[in-house]
């Protein structure tokens, strides 16, 4: 049987029972829609999180106190006998390809100004922080490069702190008290929003040395290092390791590159995405059962037709192909319907709830369609074989 005949034959038989074919395809379509919707949510979330993490730039390496074997913070961030010092941060500037470093301390303190007070996050930062974390000032300027041992008491407000304390007034030059010490506001940071539930705008930045004094600490929480993007990360990392070991006499710190962070995050999100796609796949499986059932019924109903086709000279292979193509056609069309329907739903949700990070995932949509066609093929094999094995004489006789 030539291919065009085969196609015409299958299309005719599929459209002979419009309702039945439609419902069978609908089963697969619902499954594909579910996969498309779920993976769109997964993909959107993935993009959103990656964007959150890369907003600080990608060529960053951070050094934290304490050796941690696993991914995660060591308790050395709390207390340690071998703290990271500002001198360490300075020394890391000399590592090849390192362009800037920033020693960071984080704490919580009462901030008073303009007759108001607010408990907030206070960050100790170096003059290079805006460069290292690509985080800019909108008003005034950032902390100046003062003497490390005795920096002047200047403070830079996060955008939320500015509105909380000064509303829309110009805060530059105003005096504020942080944990009882006096600081002068010299800048306001741009708004960065929240990242993983932590509000970056609800912050005040003061020189690191002052923050260490304020919190009575002798070690930094973290050193952020910005390096030349053209240099290889491994090389820079090795240089940092060498420098730190030379200064500390042993590896009592953890070096985390932004690349590693993104890798780990990416692989976790990928696993999540596959799991979510798998959940949607359950419906596809049920749709496959539907195709199998309907094809089995069709073979029984069309027994005399099969007998006729066989007596006109069609061989077993032809009969098998007729049914296989029909089953693949149903699944494939259902899948396409599902792709379109899923896409429409995703677009509609985007219009009505723009805050939801949804993103149509084309690779997963393609995969869903391929799986749908495969399911059609698998579900069609047994009925098609059954049809092919019918005895033509008996089949013709069947009413």
């Amino acid at each position: 049987m030539i291919t065009s005949d085969l196609m015409r034959f299958t299309l005719a038989s599929a459209s002979a029972h419009k309702m039945r074919s439609g419902l069978t395809a609908l089963g697969i379509g619902i499954g594909v829609t579910a996969v498309v919707l779920l993976t769109s949510i997964g993909e959107g979330l993935q993009q959103y999180l990656l964007a959150e993490f890369t907003q600080f730039g990608t060529n960053i390496i951070s050094v934290t106190p304490g050796k941690s074997e696993t991914f995660g913070a060591s308790t050395a961030a709390l207390n340690t006998t071998r703290p990271l010092s500002l001198a360490d941060a300075e020394a890391l500037n000399r590592v090849p390809y390192v362009t800037h470093t920033n020693g960071a301390v984080m704490g919580n303190a009462e901030v008073e100004g303009n007759g108001r007070s607010r408990r907030t996050q206070v960050g100790g930062a170096g003059p290079n922080m805006p460069l290292v974390l690509s985080f800019n000032v909108t008003l005034g300027k950032f902390l100046p490069p003062d003497d490390l041992a005795a920096p002047r008491p200047f403070a830079v407000l996060g955008s939320k702190m500015r509105t909380e304390l000064f509303d829309s007034r110009n805060p530059l030059g105003e005096r504020i008290r942080i944990g009882g010490s006096r600081f002068r506001v010299i800048g306001v940071m741009e708004s960065k929003g929240t990242i993983l539930g932590f509000d970056l705008d609800d912050m005040v930045y003061i020189p690191t040395t002052r923050a260490l004094e304020l919190f009575n600490k002798d070690g930094l929480n973290e050193i952020n290092i910005l390096y030349d993007p053209s240099a290889s990360t491994e090389e820079v990392e090795a240089g940092i390791r060498r420098m730190m070991i030379a200064r500390h006499g042993g590896e009592d710190f953890t070096v985390t590159t932004q690349e590693q962070m993104l890798d780990v995050l990416g692989s976790v999100l990928n696993i999540l995405q596959i799991a979510v796609a798998g959940l949607g796949g359950i419906s596809l499986l049920v749709g496959g059962v539907g195709i199998f059932t309907i094809m089995t019924i069709a073979v029984r109903e069309r027994t005399s037709e099969i007998g006729l086709v066989r007596s006109l000279g069609a061989v077993r292979r032809d009969v098998r192909r007729i049914f296989l193509v029909e089953s693949i056609l149903l699944a494939g069309l259902g899948g396409v319907g599902g792709l379109i329907c899923g896409g429409l739903i995703v677009e509609t949700i985007k219009i009505f709830i723009p805050a939801l990070p949804l993103r149509y995932s084309i690779p997963y949509a393609m995969a869903a369609e391929i799986v749908a066609v495969l399911i059609g093929l698998l579900a069609g094999v047994a009925p098609a074989q059954k049809a092919a094995n019918l005895d033509p004489v008996n089949a013709l006789r069947t009413e």
């Binding site: 309702m19 039945r20 419902l23 069978t24 609908l26 089963g27 619902i30 499954g31 579910a34 779920l38 106190p65 304490g66 050796k67 060591s74 308790t75 050395a76 961030a77 709390l78 207390n79 340690t80 006998t81 071998r82 301390v105 984080m106 704490g107 919580n108 303190a109 009462e110 408990r119 907030t120 996050q121 206070v122 960050g123 942080i178 944990g179 929240t194 539930g197 932590f198 509000d199 609800d202 304020l214 919190f215 009575n216 002798d218 929480n221 009592d252 959940l279 949607g280 359950i282 419906s283 499986l285 049920v286 749709g287 059962v289 539907g290 199998f292 059932t293 309907i294 089995t296 019924i297």
Partner: protein, 404 residues
Amino acid sequence: MRIVDCNRIAFGAVTRYPLRTSMMLLATSIGVGSVLLLTALGESARGYVSAQFQSLGTNLIIVFPGKSETSGVSPGVMTGTTERELTLDDARALARSSAIKLFAPVIVGSMPVSRGGLERDTTVIGTTQQFAEIRQWEMALGKFLPNVDIDRASPVCVIGSLIRRELFRDEPPIGKWLRLGNRRCRITGVLSEQGTSIMVDVDEVVIVPVSYAQMLFDVSGLFRIIIQATEGDTMDRARADVIRIIKERHYGEEDITAITQDAVLSTFDGIFQTLTKALAGIASISLIVAGVLIMNVMLVAVSQRTREVGLLKALGATRRQIIALFLTEAAFLAVFGGVVGLGFGYLVTSSLRAFFPEYIFMPPVWAAAGAFGVALCCGLFFGIWPARKAAALDPIMALAGRQS
């Protein structure tokens, strides 16, 4: 038509095509089974997390320095770095509240511990004797920290089982010296194996008196104060007392955060419950697909059984009776599918339970009832159209085997 007859005819129709029927049962049972499995997974995650929290002790309040105006976590508050620290005297003042049964100040940090030529970095916890009581820790050897005044920095320590294995192998460790940084302390006990609880591997810690930890790390402030309220309904009173006492001591400024174990637990509980419900919802989509299949097959059945419907009508069956007949058939399919799915789901979860006894793979009752209910509703809903179609057949035409 009597109900018994109706059931008998529907059952006969269902069993007449074993392959077709078993496929519809399979479809429904995949749906019901996956709802059960996924919710069991969600529930076991919830159970695992709440067991982790419960293993910390009961009626707990956790106090740490610093306070954030906006809700949510922030590194500054979580690490307890603040300009006014929680001190040992703050902790001691808590004894004034009658709602507080036990309290333990805690300092956590990391430092190298060594013995002979063996050294490793480990987590050191500074606390008091009451900590073991709150956490319900058992000792494998010796005893926990001595019950002496908080200020006494006795050079003693208790080690986790992994530290013991790594530094002492088979030697008895009790009474031996352990070097912590550049100080020494004598081992008084070894904790029994606890495993990881809330991110800290208890087998890998060294526990020293809190004043000794202050000396080791050269700090004065506490990281946390763990409080156990007295039994009964005293949690809220205990929390209010803690905030009041420390506020008084901090010159009227509320610069601490006190969270109750229940609050944390219920937050996590809520998250996991939402997650479980979302999983159940996603799995239920497959039940709708199964419903579509039932509708499809019933439509086929209606056209195949046109003569039978015609005969029934000729014998005086009303429209309602025909509808009831086909709906009963749909309900049979859904109910049997649901039962098979429930059986399958419970079989898989109980075998998972047998292999992983530490997790509670148990589908919640609401999920089982819900999945069954949704399957039944889907069956009935998708059965309505074929049933109406059958009922609308003209008896004379139908008897002749024609649909219109």
